[in-house]
């Protein structure tokens, strides 16, 4: 079977490399097609060296009149999505959507959307427009939805993409992350469908169906991590449930296979920590969620140090892999027994594994690494941090991990409550089985001991129709004739 996996950048593959390798090992030919950006990360060596895996540069932009326009239109639709519940309440996401529209419509990446209130002359910028929620009513919103749907249906398949797919002649096309503002990947879905090639969308991450817009063109199959994402796909995007396959999250399979690289004493020694005291790890969040987090973390450490129940704890601060620069000149040593664990690795990071493994408890505002902590059965805590509300409650996925929503993360409303939670957790007052059960539901819903990689790989190969469509048969014969 020939499988074409289209990605906007090579680094997206980090969540699917195990799946691509599994497919190739299973005898399938996989082509990874990206637009070939000059600053792309190199693909992993085991991927590039596999005899059944090839890479190709594919078109990035449409080549017809809808070049740019399709993206502009979809960005507008994405933004409109954030004017409706529950997305309207996701203030941070809504703000980003408005900014994306301003940039798309002006073609200027530095552009902001600005206007002034005609009454008080207050300047509205980007997200402020999101507060100006239009009051046109549900029926009008439905009509605008219908208009957008009809327009999307009218946008023709891109001839350049069709040509590329005809040349490649895959049996199955995969696209991810697909859901991005203005998603140009929608055109890959459209062209694959136009040619009768089954197209699947493996969801990139746990937040992707709520944070970056909508599915503009429905693929034939959507591969999701869990039941929560299945509900998102059906409720928010109207994907029929029979077209959704719950596979779990392959990106964690390699993490779950890791083992600690150092023992506790050696680990503590490497970070100047006291091996006799418990370790609390603080996982920093992305800049989108938490902006500049350094000051808050230092305040949080000071609070810990001033609490008799926690003052003797070691603290490890683990910056977000994409925000390491924030921490380059920060001196945490003055707090005593605080280690900084820096890493730019985004997936299956041994240093993250070691930090979490040796921790008694883990704290973070809103970050994927909380899931890795849960995998290791650690108690994970969060608190509503003043100044970061938009990156927490202002996103939808924040609540998915909370205990009160069936997850495993303990939420505190303020620092005092948080310190109580943390003291209890450090003292062993938590239920590992409960954490594990929640993590299982979230990333391995088929069973803790069933890696998601083969499940997704099988689901992908199941997509190929037993009997190719008339278009596919024609395509195959035309391609062969042309060779």
């Amino acid at each position: 079977m020939r499988i074409l996996f289209q990605l906007p950048r090579t680094n997206v593959l980090r969540h699917f490399d195990s799946v691509v390798l599994a497919l190739a090992d299973g005898g399938h030919d996989v082509t990874i097609a990206t637009p070939g950006k000059s600053n792309d990360f190199p693909l992993p060596q085991e991927v590039t060296s596999h005899p059944r895996i090839a890479t190709r540069v594919c078109p990035e932009a449409r080549e017809d009149a809808w070049k740019d326009a399709a993206t502009d239109f979809r960005t507008l639709v994405d933004c409109g999505h954030y004017l409706e519940s529950p997305f309207f309440e996701a203030e941070k996401l809504r703000s980003r959507a408005f900014r994306a529209v301003a940039q798309a419509m002006t073609g200027d990446k530095t552009r902001h959307l600005t206007a002034r209130c005609p009454t008080c002359n207050t300047k509205f910028v980007d997200g402020d427009f999101g507060d100006l929620r239009p009051a046109l009513g549900d029926a009008a919103a439905e009509r605008l939805h219908n208009l957008a749907r009809l327009i999307e249906d009218s946008i023709p398949s891109d001839p350049g993409r069709e040509r590329f797919l005809q040349e490649e002649s895959p049996d199955v096309v995969l696209v991810s992350p697909l859901v991005r503002f203005g998603s140009e990947q929608s055109d890959w879905v459209k062209s694959a469908k136009a040619l009768g090639i089954p197209v699947g969308f493996p969801v990139f991450s746990w937040d992707n169906l709520t944070t970056k817009g909508v599915i503009h063109v429905a693929p034939d199959r959507v591969f999701v991590w869990n039941a929560v994402q299945k509900r998102e796909a059906t409720e928010y995007y109207g994907i029929p449930s029979e077209k959704i396959v719950i596979t779990g999250a392959p990106r964690f399979d390699s993490f779950m296979a890791l083992r600690p690289s150092v023992d506790r004493d050696a680990y503590c020694q490497s970070l100047n920590l006291d091996p006799a005291a418990p370790i609390v790890t603080y996982l920093c969040s992305s800049e989108f969620v938490a902006g500049h987090e350094v000051a808050f973390v230092e305040q949080w450490i000071a609070e810990i140090r001033n609490d008799s129940r926690l003052s003797s704890c070691n603290v490890i601060v683990r910056p977000h892999p994409r925000s390491v620069r924030q921490w380059s000149e920060v001196d945490l040593a003055r707090h005593g027994r605080v280690g900084l664990s820096l890493s730019r690795v985004l997936n299956a990071d041994q240093s993250l594994y070691d930090a979490l493994y040796h921790s008694a408890a883990v704290v973070g505002l809103n970050t994927s690494a909380q899931i890795e902590a849960g995998i290791l059965g650690k108690p994970v805590l969060t608190l509503l941090a003043p100044g970061f509300e938009k990156g927490q409650r202002g996103t939808l996925h924040f609540r998915y991990l909370l205990r009160e929503e069936g997850g495993f993360v303990e939420l505190a409303n303020d620092l005092d409550e948080h310190k109580t939670h943390l003291a209890r957790a450090v003292g062993g007052g938590y239920d590992v089985a409960e954490i594990r059960s929640a993590v299982e539901r979230f990333i391995r819903p088929q069973g803790w001991d069933r890696p998601a990689t083969p499940i997704l790989a099988n689901a992908i190969t199941d997509m190929a129709p037993e009997k190719p469509s008339a278009v596919r048969r024609w395509l195959h014969s035309a391609t062969r004739a042309g060779r």
Binding site: M105, R111, L113, T119, C120, L136, A139, A140, L150
Partner: protein, 484 residues
């Protein structure tokens, strides 16, 4: 018609009242042997002109009103949105009234509710922002952003397929040429007739309905094969505001005034004054009322205007004749004249009204805020004056076409910023201090650019026949770029 095959011409109008501006053209076409089919989807709200009904080569038929497919409503929403965005262009900045009307149409199109408004609250001061106050925030995209938005909407329009319902109608009718007017109503449904005619390779031509239509209403959403305009100014509007290729615009003059040009007075001055109870020895100043859209509730202003005019010694005893707008007669039926030399002359018709002719003919000067009848006054060489009225600013300076007639923009209408200047100008005009040649020259440019003594009707007829030629079909340019 010598040397050419008679054509089968389908003329689609939204209302049969629209025919009043094309009556002479349709009769001339029919007289030249062409078969005219006048198509509208509504029952005639007023009887069509008897001359058209009686002509053996003119028929009235029912057409589908709208597309009849899944795009029927959404396309109206899309066009209404694009029409509103048109008014965000810098040249429409003062056109608050036009922009507000376009926004109301857009909101109605989306909500299907006449009473619905676009309402927001300022998150800072809690002010209630309504309709255009909200819509104008789209300017936050900047000039390029708004331009790109319009381009995007234009591309969407181009992508929307032709209606099979309208195509079936046109196939059944088998016209050699389609005429469509007024076409530019906000959210225009008529654009689908243009789209379907083009899809079937039937030449389609848009004769502009009136002097303000290209600047006050919506866009030409789908480019016809030809556009017929009154004058060079409208040609510029068609090209710059609607993206019509210059070679697709024919300037013919305004046939609607041909009949008026040909009129002669039906009354002597004495008879006219007697009918209206005026003093035949005193000059007559005519006040032409404007439409409700331009000057809603004009009665109160006219009362004040009379008081102000009477303050000028030379105007104290002149006759004043008020002519209400043909669509706004009701408020004047109970109007109590302030003195014996003031009268109200109710109109008899929307076009080529003999009573308008006699009213202007017997007048010494004409005053109006912003109305087409000022053109009829110009045709008769009368001095025409206007005054800027703050409460009607949106209907005057807030429209683009208001400036077209002003002397300071090459027109013939004297504009006064206040009553003092207006009294001075009016007194001078009544005493005969004006240049009839300048008035005539403007009227020629504006209504009869081929020559003041040459009727426009034959030029429009020729233009229509010309557009039926194969060379004009299937022009590739359809996307209108409207933002300068």
């Amino acid at each position: 018609m010598k040397g050419a095959q008679p054509l089968r011409i389908l003329f689609h109008v939204t209302l049969t009242t629209m025919l009043r501006h094309f009556e002479s053209v349709l009769l001339a076409l029919a007289d030249r042997g062409h078969a005219i089919r006048i198509a509208t989807h509504r029952s005639p709200e007023i009887p069509p002109p008897a001359t058209l009904v009686a002509h053996p080569r003119i028929a009235f038929i029912a057409s589908p009103g709208r597309r009849g497919d899944e795009w029927t409503t959404p396309i109206h929403e899309l066009r209404a949105l694009r029409d509103y965005i048109r008014f965000l262009d810098r040249r429409f900045k003062p056109a608050t009234k036009l922009r507000a009307r376009a926004l109301r149409t857009m909101v109605k199109a989306v909500t299907h509710d006449e009473r619905a408004h676009l309402v927001h609250r300022c998150p800072k001061c809690d002010a209630r922002l309504v309709d255009d106050e909200v819509g104008q925030m789209l300017r936050g995209f900047g000039k390029q952003g708004v331009k790109n938005l319009d381009k995007l909407l234009a591309l969407m329009e181009r992508t929307i397929p032709s209606s099979t319902v309208l195509e079936d109608f046109l196939k059944a009718e088998q016209p050699d040429l389609v005429l469509v007017s007024p076409l530019v109503n906000l959210g225009s449904y008529q654009a689908d007739f243009v789209k379907s005619a083009k899809a079937l390779h039937i030449p389609v031509v848009y004769p502009v309905f009136s002097w303000d239509n290209l600047s006050t209403k919506g866009l030409i959403h789908v480019q016809p094969d030809g556009v017929i305009v009154w004058n060079e100014r409208q040609r510029t509007e068609a090209v710059e505001m609607h993206g019509v290729p210059p070679d697709r615009v024919a300037v013919t003059g305004a046939p609607r005034f041909d009949e008026f040009f040909a009129m002669t007075p039906e009354t002597t001055r004495e008879q006219f004054c007697e009918i209206h109870g005026l003093d035949a020895h005193q000059p007559i100043v005519v006040y032409l009322c404007s439409s409700e859209f331009v000057a809603g509730g004009e009665v109160g202003f006219v009362r004040k205007w009379i008081e102000e005019v009477r303050q000028a010694p030379s105007l104290r005893s002149c006759n004043i004749l008020i002519r209400p707008h043909p669509r706004q007669q009701k408020p004047w039926k109970s109007f109590e004249v302030p003195d014996a030399r003031v009268a109200v002359a109710l109109p008899q018709a929307m076009n080529a009204d003999p009573t308008l002719f006699d009213t202007v003919h017997h007048s010494a000067a004409v005053v109006g805020l912003n109305t087409s009848a000022q053109l009829e006054a110009g045709i008769l060489g009368r001095p025409v004056l206007t005054i800027l009225v703050p409460e009607f600013e949106e209907g005057q300076q807030g429209t683009l076409h208001f400036s077209y007639l002003l002397k300071e923009h090459g027109g013939f209408v004297d504009v006064a910023p206040d009553f003092e200047a207006h009294r001075r100008q009016l007194a001078a005009a009544v005493s005969g201090d004006y240049d009839p040649q300048a008035i005539r020259s403007f009227i020629e440019q504006f209504l009869r650019p081929k020559g003041i003594n040459l009727a426009a009707t034959p030029f429009m007829v020729r233009a229509i026949e010309e557009f039926a030629q194969p060379a004009y079909r299937e022009h590739p340019s359809e996307v209108t770029e409207t933002h300068s």
